[in-house]
Amino acid sequence: MSEFEPKVVAFFCNWCTYGAADLAGVSRLDYPPNFRVVRLPCTGRLNPKFIMEAFKRGADGVWVSGCHPGDCHYIAGNYHARRKFVLLHSLLETIGVEPNRLRFSWISSAEANKFQAMARDVIESVRACGPNLTFRKANLQLDLAEVA
């Protein structure tokens, strides 16, 4: 069996981390290809149900990244998001989501190096957690024996 390659769903703010990913690309900074990016207008747009949906559909990790506090394109979106993240992080950690499966960061569009380092760190720590078996939705694992 091939080595486990984690799948991570990444929610990036359009105005910063998404730009940082672009800059990392044009700067030829290599980073692991294991994440699928969902572009948000602001981390304030992130509804906790998006994160649950990612885990339910089998994502091995979720990475949320936006603008540094004070840099929000919409002035205060990430300040509000930060309070939501505090709650979300505490609840998911308490009910047993390994801390490394759910990561948050602030990366501006100029920080291509930070993006590269963070991307590597996120993917490697999710890899260490192993595949997401516990937060995956059971019904979607089709019992093919039952079908065929």
């Binding site: 339910k56 004070g70 300040y79 609840l91 950690e93 308490t94 516990t134 059971a138």
Partner: protein
């Protein structure tokens, strides 16, 4: 006359005068239930109705739940948590303050039927109460149980038994209980993620997804709940354990910083799930991070509507 009868008397008198003077068009309170250990929500609109109003330690629902979308002037018979939830409804613009009269009841904690059943498994036909004890009887037995031994968990750690905001109190202030120290959660947090997950999976394993916890909650007034959304459908309708878990997690998150620990959710749950565990995790986080308790004043700003530039969040790198 015991304290409970005095309060009942006071509620009836006040209800009548409020209806008569037009200060209220409906008084929302409790009547005696049709089965033992239950008091039922009751809507009094006439003097005759008012004579059915009672106060008892079986008044476990949160009557603030009946405020949103109501256009009448309401007098609400409110124990500490109900009053806080009603204030929350006003703060969240779900009910106009000028239409609300809070008839505050100093509460000494409510009785949990599950704990009564644990002490007395025989079928109960009748239950009466005095200030500190309930008397339950059935075929060939009659037993006294001290209320303090069968109070709901949230009542045992209620710091605001007497309404903090009310137009009028129906009796002398009730002594506050020792607030929740979250000791059990701290012990739980010391365990491994897998153990914690098992704890919470076990907690909700009987869940029928009837959403009684949501419907009994005065915070849940969304016109369309996320569980009922269909485009897209965020939550499967089956008994899939992850869908059930997602429901409980998101329900908890929606209540964060707003929950007054009234316990109506646990009261309504037909399979006795301690659904408030999820809320308690978040209560603890809210108190630790933003030192906030909801529903204590009209001017309060809920913690998720405000921020400080230097809010702590060390886990964000």
């Amino acid at each position: 006359m015991g304290n409970l009868e005095t309060i009942t008397q006071k509620i009836r008198e006040k209800a009548k005068s409020l209806l008569e003077s037009g200060q209220a068009e409906v008084v929302i309170g409790y009547r005696a239930g049709t089965i033992p250990l239950v008091a039922a929500p009751f809507f009094a609109r006439s003097a005759a109705d008012c004579d059915q109003l009672v106060w008892s330690s079986f008044a476990r629902l949160n009557l603030a739940n009946y405020l949103p979308n109501r256009t009448e002037k309401v007098a609400l018979v409110a124990k500490g948590c109900d009053a806080r939830s009603a204030v929350g409804q006003v703060v969240e613009n779900q009910f106009p303050k000028e239409n609300l009269y809070l008839l505050g009841v100093p509460c000494s904690g409510l009785v949990d039927p599950a704990q009564v059943a644990a002490k007395e498994p025989r079928p109960i036909q009748r239950a009466t109460e005095s200030d500190d004890a309930i008397t339950i009887s059935g075929q060939g037995f009659s037993v006294d149980i001290k209320k303090a031994e069968v109070l709901r968990r949230n009542c045992r750690t209620c710091a605001h038994r007497t309404p903090t905001v009310a137009n009028e109190l129906t009796g002398p202030e009730a002594p506050a209980a020792k607030p929740d120290d979250f000791e059990d959660l701290k012990t739980l947090l010391a365990k491994t993620p897998a153990e914690r997950l098992n704890h919470f999976k076990d907690l909700i394993k009987d869940c029928l997804r009837c959403y009684a916890c949501r419907n009994a909650c005065p915070l849940c007034y969304c016109p369309v709940c996320f569980v009922d959304e269909t485009r897209p459908q965020w939550l499967g309708k089956s008994t899939d354990p992850m869908d059930t878990m997602t429901f409980h997690l998101l329900r908890g998150l929606h209540c964060a910083g707003r929950c007054t620990a009234c316990g109506a959710c646990e009261t309504a749950c037909p399979v006795n799930i301690k659904v408030r565990e999820f809320n308690r995790v978040l209560d603890k986080t809210v108190q630790e991070n933003w030192a906030y308790e909801p529903g204590l004043a009209w001017e309060q700003k809920p913690p998720l509507t405000v921020f400080q530039p230097n809010d702590p969040a060390d886990f964000i790198k």
